[in-house]
């Protein structure tokens, strides 16, 4: 009975069906697993972690200090074979096959040579999570872990830490107040610099230019010149005032500092202006952690990068991606739709049109790097070079448009996504019933009116689908951009307050390239990893959202007809 069943099982092909089913299951696990990995690693970076302290005493003969103290966050945890440890110089006792080890972020990059390190748990002792450990997020050198010793004002101790619970709390309160004050001052400074000082600078610049122009034309009345000179000196004195105010503020900002004791009793003094944020992770409850998490996420989305892109935010990359994609849509939408209308409504339907249709369809499958090569060779070197020769000859040999930039990147991606838009729009146009067109024409509408007023409204979801797919593709494509305009770190945004506001010739930052650049080429990969995961998560989320909306639109379109 059992044997017969077994034969039946094998003979009916059930195992094959199960194998095909497992292929689906594996694919599903791969997608979901990858997305979860991204989400976990990406979001985990912002969640405040417990900071541990302990002593480490590995049996390595070459180590100078036998026992050392460490403070840090756990990053990774794994089992390692004893043989591998032995290869690294560990003198191990026999009989143990595997050891647990963990990767710890020690921070304090300015004090120790490496801010990450592996610790074999077997050789640690006195592991604790003291409540008064402080994490300082700094503008430079990354995180600092330690205990607060005292707060200093103009290098004099104000509140020393007596060691008991109550003074510890007062010290913390005082420190937080001073930190807030410093943050306010810093904001004031940046406002002064970006608004007032920039305005005066611009005015002075204008006056100077006018002066030098006047000097060329001697016929100008002298009185005018005097007025200019007076105004200039006024502005210059204003500028001087601001400068003194700024200097004052800078002095005030640098008033306070804080002294900490880090691992192995090292003392370090940090000016408060260097500190972005300070918290005691082992004391935080869930809501506090959540608040901190949200703040950090916000900082990530809205701030500029720091420390060679390995810390801070990715706002310029988000902004660059959005501007580039917008420009691209503005190019691809009208031209793609016109081409589709031509192919479907105006062109004579014959062999040639069919060939063109297949060719356009296949262009979507051409590797993106080929478009990048075209963009570089044609747009930048030929078109851009010609623009430079015609309009920016005075700047040559420094290229203005003959170099990778926003415009060329958008154009290249517009070309890359054109087939997607054309194919989708054509599909939409083909679905419009013939009777509608005939009805419209019969009522006396011209062909153009029929297309605009009858065909368009029905086909518009298809066009939107195409555009959205194009945007999703453009946002995720990096290879051609590497040739036509992205940079790792752009000095300014492609759209800003300076004339002509939209800088088409400027290089820009891009989320995808940010992942490539920071992930692969940053000096401290270990420190940059969490940020790259977060960036990747953001990019995937945006693109998934775009694709999802396109799918919803497409479904609605299919249901509607």
């Amino acid at each position: 009975m059992k044997v017969a069943r077994l034969q039946n099982w094998a003979g009916s092909g059930t195992p094959f069906i199960w194998i095909t089913a497992s292929a689906v299951a594996i694919s599903l696990i791969m997608v979901v697993g990858l997305l979860s990995l991204l989400a976990f690693k990406g979001m985990g970076h912002f969640w405040p972690k417990q900071v541990m302290q302990g002593n480490y005493n590995p049996p390595i003969a070459s180590r100078a200090i036998a026992t050392s103290e460490f403070i840090g966050e756990r990053v990774q945890f794994e089992a390692v074979a004893a043989e591998q440890l032995a290869d690294n110089g560990f003198a191990l006792s026999l009989g143990v096959d595997t050891y647990q080890r963990q990767l710890v972020k020690f921070g304090n990059r300015d004090l120790s040579e490496s801010d990450f390190g592996w610790i074999v748990m077997e050789f640690t002792s006195d592991i604790a999570y003291p409540a008064d450990i402080v994490v300082l997020e700094r503008r430079r050198w990354g995180n600092l872990y330690g205990y607060m010793e005292s707060v200093l004002q103009q290098a004099k101790e104000v509140v020393p830490n007596a060691g008991d619970q109550s003074t510890d709390e007062t010290l913390w309160q005082d420190f937080q107040q001073r930190l807030q004050r410093t943050a306010q001052l810093l904001e004031e400074i940046s406002l002064l610099e970006s608004r007032q000082l920039a305005r005066i600078n611009r005015q002075i610049e204008q006056l100077r230019r006018q002066q030098s122009r006047n000097e060329l034309l001697i016929s100008e009345p002298a009185q005018d010149l005097d007025a200019d000179v007076r105004q200039l000196s006024l502005l210059e004195s204003q500028y001087g005032d601001f400068q003194t105010r700024l200097n004052n503020l800078a002095e005030q900002v640098n008033r306070d500092s804080v002294r900490l004791i880090t691992a192995n009793n090292q003392r370090i003094e940090i000016p408060l202006s260097e500190i972005i944020r300070a918290y005691r992770p082992n004391q935080l409850d869930f809501t506090e952690k959540l608040t901190l998490f949200m703040t950090k996420v916000l900082e990530f989305v809205a701030d500029d990068p720091r420390e060679g892109n390995t810390e801070g935010g990715i706002f310029p990359a988000i902004f660059g991606t959005v501007v580039m994609v917008l420009l691209m849509s503005m190019l691809v939408a009208p031209f793609g739709v016109i081409a589709a209308i031509y192919l479907r409504e105006y062109a004579r339907q014959g062999l040639l049109t069919r060939i063109i249709r297949i060719a356009v369809n296949n262009l979507a499958g051409v590797p993106s790097i080929v478009y990048g090569v075209f963009g570089l060779g044609f747009f930048i070197y030929i078109v851009g070079g010609e623009i430079d020769r015609q309009f920016f000859a005075e700047a040559l040999p420094a290229p203005t448009f003959g170099t990778p930039g926003l415009l060329w990147a958008s154009l290249t991606l517009a070309l890359l996504t054109m087939p997607v838009v054309i194919v989708a729009t054509e599909e939409g146009l083909a679905r419009v019933p013939r009777s509608l067109r005939e009805g419209s024409l019969a009522l006396g509408a011209t062909k153009f009116e029929t297309i605009v007023k009858v065909v368009f409204p029905i086909a518009s979801p298809a066009m939107m689908t195409g555009l959205m797919l194009a945007i999703a593709r453009a946002a995720g494509t990096v290879a051609p951009l590497m040739l036509v305009g992205v940079v790792k770190l752009a000095p300014s945004l492609p759209v800003n307050g300076l004339y002509p506001y939209l800088h088409l010739n400027q290089k820009f930052m891009h989320l995808g390239y940010h992942i490539y650049g920071v992930g692969l080429q940053s000096p401290n990969t270990q420190a940059a990893m969490p940020l790259v995961f977060a960036t990747a998560l953001l990019l995937v989320a945006v693109i998934a959202l775009l694709n999802f909306s396109a799918a919803v639109l497409r479904n609605r379109l299919r249901e509607g007809l």
């Binding site: 195992p15 292929a23 599903l28 192919l343 409504e345 369809n361 790097i369 080929v370 995808g512 990893m529």
Partner: protein, 780 residues
């Protein structure tokens, strides 16, 4: 658009509801009315003009993509052109012969040295004499040999009958005149070792001289027929001041060494290579003797002897190719032999690399270009042939004169050729030879490069210096591309096809509506994210848990089959509790468990069977070296990217097979698997084929994953644990740095065009297959 003619829109056959609309009625109606109607008509006409224009414009722009690639690539294969620029005569005393002719880099200035010691600078465009100076020789002295260096190229030396030598350099000064914005170039000679000829202390009259070196280190060697050799090394310290002010540089210190060579008595030619390491003697009988210069100055004059294997070499025409890693030696029957310098310690210090058959008799002249591995030869009949050594091809040829010319010079950039065709009669040729190093063999064949033991396929575009050979073999790159695509397809094809079969035929449609978008989500994942994960997360994890990856391959199929068997052995009521087509849900935990198990058992297995370290076991026992970013990582990451592409098309093909076929088969008693295997798959096979093709196309052109998750080393090794460099990644890496319109730039365009044509072709085939499939379905 002409509104009188009906504008017919005829839908192609495959469209179901194709409108056929004529515009005539509306237009004719509007003709009669006026005002607003006329505006509407105009609007319609303008639109009818603009839309086709715009549409055709867009389509042409897309077409331009291909045309432009072709436009950039074609010059690579265009042959060189040559045209006579001018001819002129120079008034010179009778019986004076040209010793050396040269063309300078700046402007079109020629240089001529005659055997009476007169150096002349000539404007090659007009034949005008710019300036002339006499070498500072004694009245009664006679020049017995002249020589010049290859490397820097402007160092020249003559040796005199009195046994003295004079070293001189061509230089120039550029002046800008502000008035007419012209620049004038004034050429002149300088004598780095002084204007007085240096006594070499030869015993006889030296007849062969060699010079090598650059500004701060000049080496001279002279040979006389008694076999006496003098070597002189002039060195000076380079300090910071001398780069700013040449006058501040310190004086040369001169070291000499002399020895007697046991000579066979026949004529000899001596050469020094530009690295100043060896002194070479070539004798007429085809013997070669080499000395180590460092040893010579240390007082050790031991030599190594070899036979070249050439009868009657034309010693006076022997030439170094730029970089001095290979020597050109013509023989008496019109062949030019190229030898690679192999170091005198090696078995064969001069490797015979190539032979160029130029003529059937002895050559008149041979010169090599200074910047590229090109050389130009002229035979006794005045027929010129130019070659590129690397690509082993003739670049151009022309009849330049009736007989053998007296002297020849080629400009450093290889764009100007000066010939003395008759005594004091010169002709100047313009050459356009932009890409001599490219030929079909250079791109796709094995090439023997300097410094290599044998011919090989090598891609190494960025040479270390001007003189190094660029190595442009596209074979390693194409190989890498195919390798990456192969490993990706190895993972993706079975997974995606099996998945598509299950999802398209067996899966419950309620589940399918959820599964399909999830797998389509894979397609939306930007490849840069996949590349990042593969390179920075998977690669280290795989390295750490290599064995676990292999464990999965064993454990997973077993656990799936076991589950299937176990399930079939369960009582019927339990089995029926899971509706048809929901097996996937059952399998999810099984697969996760199998994966977890693979990791858990990997450490014990590693300790039990592989001495605790699988990777070192691999390299010890199988000789496989593990590179962290390897083909396995690529296969998985790129497979991931390709799965959704294949899945979507294949699933479409399977699910759109008319259902009545499968019902019929099932009704006749076939099991579901049998009807799939016998009925559905054969019908859908063109669709599956086109799915695989489109997937392959995507894998071939993928850039970011390969860029980030391989070491990008252009090696030819099919090993699973080695990296590769693909065409696409190579373009991304190299094109931003390559000079516009250089050979390198154009070759990268060629690579792009290869990619374009390949994917376009594959996609077209896939599309045609797909269309046939649709026709087949409509017939069923």
């Amino acid at each position: 658009m002409n509104s009188q003619l009906p504008d017919v829109i005829a839908e192609s056959k495959e469209q179901t509801a194709g409108p056929v609309i004529t515009d005539t009625t509306a237009a004719t109606c509007l003709h009669q009315s006026s005002g607003k109607s006329r505006r509407r008509l105009l609007q319609n006409q303008v639109a009818g003009l603009i839309i086709p224009l715009g549409g055709i414009g867009v389509i042409l722009t897309l077409l331009l993509l291909f045309v432009f690639l072709l436009f950039e690539v074609l010059p690579l294969f265009r042959s060189a052109s040559l045209e006579l620029f001018t001819e002129f005569s120079l008034p010179t005393p009778a019986n004076v012969q040209t010793l050396h002719l040269a063309a300078m880099e700046q402007g079109s200035i020629g240089f001529r040295l005659t055997d009476d010691g007169t150096a002349s600078f000539i404007d090659l465009a007009s034949g005008r004499l710019i300036s002339q100076e006499k070498l500072p020789l004694a009245e009664d002295d006679v020049i017995t040999d002249f020589t010049t260096t290859m490397g820097n190229g402007t160092l020249m030396a003559v040796v005199l009958a009195s046994g003295k030598a004079l070293v001189f350099v061509r230089q120039y000064r550029t002046d800008f005149s502000t008035e007419n914005k012209n620049r004038t170039i004034t050429p002149f000679l300088v004598y780095p070792l002084g204007r007085n000829p240096i006594a070499l202390g030869s015993k006889g009259i030296p007849t062969s001289l060699a010079v090598a070196g650059q500004d701060d280190s000049i080496m001279l060697a002279a040979w006389d027929p008694t076999g006496h050799i003098r070597v002189l090394h002039a060195k000076r310290e380079r300090d910071l001041m001398s780069t700013i002010d040449p006058a501040a540089s310190s004086a040369y210190e001169i070291y000499t060494s002399s020895f007697n060579e046991e000579t066979s008595g026949d004529e000899q030619r001596i050469l020094i290579d530009s690295t100043l390491r060896h002194l070479w003697f070539l004798s007429e009988s085809g013997q070669l003797r080499a000395y180590d210069l460092k040893q010579l100055f240390a007082g050790n004059s031991s030599a190594v002897d070899f036979t070249l294997g050439i009868t009657e070499p034309n010693l006076s025409a022997a030439q170094w190719l730029p970089g001095a890693d290979s020597l050109l030696l013509p023989d008496s029957v019109g062949r030019i032999h190229q030898f690679f310098l192999n170091g005198i310690d090696a078995n064969n210090p001069l490797l015979p690399a190539r032979v160029f058959t130029v003529s059937n008799q002895s050559l008149a002249t041979l010169v090599s270009e200074r910047r590229a591995k090109n050389f130009i030869s002229i035979d006794q009949q005045g027929f010129l042939r130019a070659f590129n050594a690397t690509s082993n091809r003739e670049t151009y040829s022309v009849q330049v004169s009736a007989g053998a010319p007296l002297a020849m010079a080629v400009a450093p950039r290889g764009n100007l050729l000066v010939l003395e065709i008759k005594p004091n009669r010169f002709s100047v040729w313009r050459i356009d030879n932009p890409h001599p190093e490219i030929s079909w063999t250079a791109l796709w064949g094995k090439i023997w490069y300097e410094g290599y033991a044998e011919p090989d396929y090598i891609w190494q575009s960025s040479g270390t210096g001007n003189s190094s050979e660029p190595k442009y073999s596209l074979v390693p790159l194409s190989f890498g591309t195919l390798k990456a695509a192969f490993y990706a397809m190895l993972l993706a094809a079975p997974l995606a096809l099996c998945g598509a079969i299950y999802s398209g035929y067996f899966m419950a449609s309620a589940l399918r509506r959820k599964v399909r978008p999830t797998i389509e989500l894979m397609e939306a994942l930007p490849t840069v994210v996949l590349g990042f994960l593969a390179g920075l997360w998977f690669a280290p994890v795989f390295e750490q848990h290599l064995l676990a990856v292999f464990n999965i391959l064993v454990i997973l199929p077993f656990s799936i089959l076991l589950t299937s068997l176990g399930w079939s052995l369960l009582p019927g009521n339990i089995r029926q509790s899971l509706p048809d087509g929901w097996v996937v849900v059952l399998l999810l935990p099984v697969i996760l468990l199998a994966g977890w198990l693979s990791f858990v058992v990997s450490t014990p297995v590693e300790i039990m069977f592989f001495a605790g370290d699988f990777r070192s076991w691999l390299s010890r026992e199988l000789g496989l070296d593990y590179v962290q970013r390897n083909a396995m990582v690529i296969g998985i990451a790129m497979g991931f990217a390709v799965i959704p592409t294949i899945f979507a098309i294949a699933e479409d093909a399977i699910s759109s097979v008319p259902r009545h076929l499968s019902y019929g088969s099932l009704a006749l008693g076939a099991t579901p698997w049998q009807s799939l295997y016998q009925v559905i798959l054969p019908t859908a096979s063109p669709g599956l084929c086109s799915a695989l093709l489109v997937g392959l196309g995507r894998a071939l052109g993928e850039t970011m994953i390969v860029l980030m998750a391989t070491g990008n080393t252009p090696i030819m090794d099919f090993d699973l644990f080695d990296g590769m460099r693909t065409l696409a990644a190579n373009i991304a890496i190299e094109i931003p740095e390559s000079a516009v319109d250089s050979t390198h730039y154009r070759i990268l365009f060629l690579a792009a065009m290869v990619l374009f044509l390949f994917t376009f072709f594959i996609n077209t085939v896939a599309e045609l297959v797909h269309q046939r499939l649709r026709q087949r379905y409509s017939g069923l």
